[in-house]
């Protein structure tokens, strides 16, 4: 155990932890988005999919068991990811207590500059999103019906400012992933073959998946507002 603690204390080890937890969260977000595309197949298909999540692993796992294991794993990944992000930020702040009068970025991109605050917005979004569609208290959802996710989905997104918040949060997530999905390869020491002459496939990977996730997720509130899904 002690080597894990020591590893996590080093800035390199901490970034490995961030990369692995970030990768796990990315995997979840991707599957989550693809799964939600079922909403375009109508209420039956969508509710059947949502119910099906609870019976995955049957008969090895009982009703909802695997889902809970996944939830615990995700919670762990979020906690670890955020702790590492927080710690990393602390260490870096302490490394330059007296700042410059002026420091200009040369090639740092907007996505890179917003990793921290963008991450915080994504976190707030996750919390709200859980209240909105999973727990459904009155303040978060106007008419939450347990067991009818299609209804909750449509009614939930009909509130325009809720939809707007979802869209903003997805744009933040997209920026986060545009840098993060490239950065994680750096953190894990995975580089393109120097001499392949094909450029950096990690950039292509990061930009494409960031785009796919943002477009997929943004389509949901837009489809409800436009009346395509009702």
């Amino acid at each position: 155990m002690s080597w894990i603690v020591e590893f996590y204390r080093s800035s390199i080890g901490r970034k490995v932890v961030m990369a692995v937890s970030g990768l796990a969260l990315f995997g979840f977000v991707l599957i989550h988005m693809v799964g939600n595309l079922k909403v375009y197949l109508g209420p039956e298909a969508f509710n059947h999919y949502a119910e099906g999540l609870r019976t995955i692993g049957d008969p090895l796992f009982g009703y909802g068991q695997l889902l809970w294991i996944a939830r615990i794993g995700l919670l762990l990944a979020v906690v670890v990811h955020i702790h590492a992000a927080w710690k990393t930020t602390q260490v870096s702040r302490a490394a330059r207590p007296a700042g410059y009068q002026l420091r200009r970025s040369v090639q740092q991109t907007y996505a890179e500059r917003t990793m921290r605050w963008g991450g915080v917005i994504v976190l707030l979004f996750i919390l709200y999103h859980l209240a909105h569609f999973t727990f459904g208290p009155d303040w978060a959802h106007p008419d939450f019906v347990p067991g009818d996710p299609y209804h909750n989905f449509v009614v939930g997104f009909q509130v325009w400012w809720v939809s707007a918040f979802y869209i903003v949060a997805q744009l933040c997530l997209g920026l986060h992933l545009k840098h993060g999905l490239w950065s994680l390869f750096q953190s894990l020491g995975i580089t393109p073959d120097q001499d392949s002459g094909h450029g950096d496939w990690r950039r292509t990977f990061a930009t494409s998946f960031a785009l796919v996730i943002v477009l997929g997720n943004i389509s949901f509130p837009l489809a409800v507002l436009a009346g395509v899904v009702q």
Partner: protein
């Protein structure tokens, strides 16, 4: 050309320090940046004032002593150029130039624009060498090394340890420097026997100095006068992981 300089003046490590403005009415665009400061210092000396302290040695871009934060970027506006190799033609007549020292907890200001970079020396001291008796110079090509590997090792070995990477990094991290020093030895046959131990010790020393944590923002490679790229940082991460897991 006429320039206005705003220079960080700090009489000692304890002094709070401040920006002081100097007018430079007659600067030749052919001067190097350091020659321009020489002119200022001559004038200050004649006036009985304390000249501005700044580090320099070779003035040909190979020793790594010079290094100033010029208008918010390390070594000034020109890519792949040390401060001593920067010329005044990069600036406009009438421009105001802000000159600050490298700022990092691990690089404390000694005086004015001079910082103490011995944290870099300590990283080298724990492993940035090959501890075998090398005797006299070996015959050329006695030890075959592939061209790509030799090129890559040379890219890393070009590091002059100026500290611009740390100075420019939003996180004050020293990953580019440390990785270059680890990589040029890890790539060559001479570096193999101590490869894992070297990586571990140099990384751990880097962690102990008050450097920040790399976020892969790539600002370091953008200002590196020797154009060392962040691919070496990935390589260091890989080397460190391998050393830790084996």
């Amino acid at each position: 050309m006429h320039l206005t300089l705003k220079i960080w003046r700090q009489s000692s490590p304890e002094d709070a320090g401040q920006l002081v403005t100097y007018e430079m009415p007659d600067v030749s665009e052919h001067m190097s940046f350091l020659e321009m400061l020489d002119v200022l210092n001559e004038r200050l000396t004649e006036q009985g004032e304390d000249p501005v302290s700044f580090d320099h040695d070779c003035r040909e871009g190979i020793c790594g002593m010079c290094g100033l934060m010029i208008n918010g970027s390390a070594h000034g506006p020109r890519a792949a150029t040390t401060t001593c190799q920067l010329h005044m033609r990069e600036f406009e007549d009438g421009e105001t130039i802000l000159i600050e020292p490298w700022r990092a907890e691990a690089f404390p200001v000694v005086k004015d624009l001079v910082v103490d970079r011995s944290s870099f020396d300590r990283i080298i001291q724990v492993g940035g060498y090959v501890s075998v008796n090398t005797g006299s110079a070996p015959d050329a090509n006695a030890l075959p090394i592939g061209k790509e590997v030799a090129n890559r090792a040379m890219d890393a070995a070009a590091c002059i340890g100026c500290g611009a990477c740390v100075a420019q990094c939003p996180n004050g991290a020293a990953q580019l420097f440390t990785s270059a020093k680890i990589a040029h030895l890890a790539l060559l046959p001479q570096g193999q026997p101590e490869r894992q131990r070297r990586t571990q010790r140099m990384v751990e020393q880097m962690e102990q100095e008050a450097f920040g944590s790399c976020s892969n923002f790539r600002e370091c490679e953008a200002v590196c006068p020797k154009e060392i790229d962040v691919g070496f940082i990935a390589m260091m991460n890989r080397e460190y992981l391998r050393a830790k897991l084996s």
